[in-house]
């Protein structure tokens, strides 16, 4: 009984925090999404107008589809780029200090501000940017590639660069934890390097992939700054819609977009956690 009391006492700060700053705002957001929105005011009279408008408008529903498309592309590319890096750090670097040093190197870009990191892509990707100049100088292209900046591609490039480290970290951690004797045993049992990767390393690194995917998902789905900075406001994600709606005091509409985003994120996280039981693996 005493220890039960102590458990609740220890849990209470966390529970209070989550209740006030997560559960309550979430409920409020769902509630507000059903309020009646007029041009300049909002009334707590329940209606589904905002929801109907959201799903019947090409602009908003299109933004949802675009957000999902960009998110899945970024997720796939971060995994594609991040996994080999994590595999190298976790499996091929035996020295723990060097492993840590390389992981720290991955986060060096985070020593500068988010906006600088995003905006730094402009002189790289622009019509007269570094990439076009170099490609033209070495004669690979005659005219600059225009698709590099202010397009969906530039948004994807920027996001991959920013978020790939969140994929590398958890995967490298899981791969680094794989006992060398497992690899030795598999080799001794006659397995080739590819089989060892497919049958041992890959399944054992899956919790890292799941955690990395959750990190990237949560961050990319909530994104708005990279999209507006690198697309010249041409690519609107749900995050950008929320910002615009809040800016024009359309709270109900912003709440609808917020709820939709939350549902997408929660569904993805739930599915991922169904695939791998993190509690057993970590």
């Amino acid at each position: 009984m005493k220890s039960n009391k102590r458990t609740w006492l220890l849990l209470s700060p966390g529970i209070t925090w989550i209740l006030f700053f997560l559960v309550a705002p979430l409920i409020m957001m769902i509630y507000v999404s059903f309020w009646t929105q007029t041009t300049f005011s909002i009334k707590p009279e329940l209606t589904v107008t905002s929801w109907v408008n959201f799903f019947s408008s090409d602009t908003y529903f299109g933004a949802l589809l675009r957000t999902i498309r960009i998110w899945l592309t970024v997720l796939f590319v971060t995994l594609l780029v991040g996994y080999p890096v994590a595999l190298y750090i976790g499996q091929f670097i035996k020295n723990k200090t060097l492993q840590t040093a390389l992981l720290v190197t991955c986060v060096i870009p985070f020593w500068t501000s988010f906006l600088i990191r995003v905006l730094a892509w402009r002189p790289m990707l622009g019509k007269e940017g570094a990439i076009n100049i170099v490609l033209q100088k070495i004669g690979i292209i005659d005219a600059p590639i225009e698709v590099l900046l202010f397009t969906e591609l530039s948004v994807i490039i920027g996001m991959v660069q920013i978020y790939v480290v969140f994929m590398v970290g958890p995967i490298a951690f899981m791969i680094g934890r794989i006992d060398g004797s497992l690899i030795e045993s598999a080799r001794d049992l006659g397995a080739s390097s590819w089989t060892i990767f497919r049958r041992i390393i890959l399944p054992l690194s899956m919790p890292g992939v799941i955690v990395g995917a959750i990190f990237v998902t949560v961050m990319v789905l909530g994104e708005f700054a990279t999209a507006s900075a690198l697309s010249g406001r041409k690519v609107n994600l749900l995050g950008n819609i929320i910002i615009t709606q809040v800016g024009s005091l359309k709270w109900a509409f912003a709440a609808v977009a917020g709820v939709v985003l939350t549902i997408v994120m929660a569904t993805f996280v739930a599915v991922m956690l169904r695939i791998v039981n993190l509690r057993n693996q970590l």
Binding site: S181, S185, G190
Partner: protein, 355 residues
């Protein structure tokens, strides 16, 4: 069968294995005894193909396999900490080598099932097939690890301290089971251990390794009774070893009959079995090496008495409980320790037994 010739391996200039040569015959149980850091695990890894030697060759049935990759050697290697795949159940762990080996994998699942089931029955794991490796005990993990190797029908099976992590009861049971399993399959086992009892009990042939070298090879009974190398004598933990300036003085004092003059002249070290020493009261007349009684250790079927000589040398005397009653000795009291001349083993300056 397996022949290792002049194998050496260094790490950052520090030799781990130096000029090691030995043979393991077909259908033989060989034990390799060595303290930790003696290079025995490195040697095993070289044989398995997990490490490449700097010099020397490894021959398997006369064929040089030194440069053959590990997965093409068909040498089984049972790791010290079992190294079971945590994401696979017992059955899939055992079937791993059959299904996924590079050379000649078995695609027919019913054949895999049949072979795995046979091995599971052999190692006594029936009923555990679908359990995950985290749900089974240490002894069962040991069996899975062994079964996983044996099912691939290796030419020789290397076992790296296979009983090290088991409790004493289980270790004794596994000792017998390992021998039974081996004789049933007719495959050679090379068992590496730091435990002299394990090495003596299991091996038909025994190797002793120290500082990267094989110091002695032979039949366990013989090596236990008359080790031809002083390092072997030390590894057996059955001898009191006397060396240094006071060697002659100690031998003169403790030997109850006449010492071999020729041998003691050449000897630089002497070894006396712990169970061949008698303890008597240190009266003025009594012959014997004077030593102060420190303490005793009761081990069930035997008891060990610890003494300290005047120059600080610790001497152990072992009495088997079936042969005599427990002695009533008083701590901090001086006693006389004596032995017979025929029980002394003499070693020269190269630590080799004098004939």
């Amino acid at each position: 069968m397996l022949e290792v010739k002049g194998v050496s391996k260094s790490f950052s200039g520090v030799p781990a294995v130096e000029d090691v040569s030995f043979k393991v015959e077909q259908n033989e149980y060989v034990t390799l005894l060595g303290s930790s850091g003696s290079g025995k695990s490195v040697l095993l890894r070289i044989i398995a193909g997990l490490l490449t030697p700097d010099a020397g060759v490894v021959l398997l049935n006369g064929e040089d396999v030194t440069d053959l990759p590990c997965h093409e050697r068909r040498i089984g290697f049972v790791q010290q900490k079992y190294a079971l795949f945590p994401h696979l159940n017992v059955f899939d762990n055992i079937a791993f080598g059959l299904r996924h080996r590079e050379v000649d994998p078995i695609k027919n699942e019913s054949l895999v099932k049949q072979k795995v089931s046979e091995t599971i029955a052999l190692v006594g794991l029936i009923g555990q097939e679908s359990k995950m490796t985290g749900q089974i005990s240490g002894g069962q993990k040991q069996r899975v690890s062994l079964a996983r190797t044996l099912v691939t029908e290796p030419k020789i099976c290397l076992l790296d301290e296979p009983l090290g992590a088991l409790d004493a009861n289980l270790r004794e049971r596994m000792t017998i089971e390992l021998q039974n399993i081996r004789s049933e399959l007719g495959v050679s086992f090379m068992h590496v251990t730091g435990n002299e009892f394990e090495a003596l009990a299991m091996g038909q042939n025994m190797l002793v390794m120290s500082e990267g070298r094989i110091v002695e090879q032979g039949i366990p009974q013989q090596m236990y009774a008359t080790p031809s190398d002083l390092i072997t004598a030390k590894s057996m933990h059955n001898f009191n070893i006397f060396s240094g300036d006071d060697l002659h003085k100690h031998m003169e004092a403790g030997t109850s009959d006449k010492l071999s003059a020729a041998k003691i002249k050449k000897a630089m070290h002497c070894a006396i079995p712990m169970d061949r020493i008698d303890i008597v009261a240190a009266s003025a007349k009594a012959k014997g090496l004077r030593a102060e009684f420190l303490t005793s250790e009761f081990l069930g079927n035997k008891i060990i008495y610890f003494f300290k000589t005047e120059d600080g040398h610790v001497c152990e005397v072992e009495d088997h409980m079936s042969l005599r009653e427990r002695r009533e000795l008083t701590a901090s009291t001086t006693y006389a320790l004596k032995w017979k001349s025929k029980d002394i083993l003499y070693y020269d300056e190269n630590k080799q037994l004098l004939g």
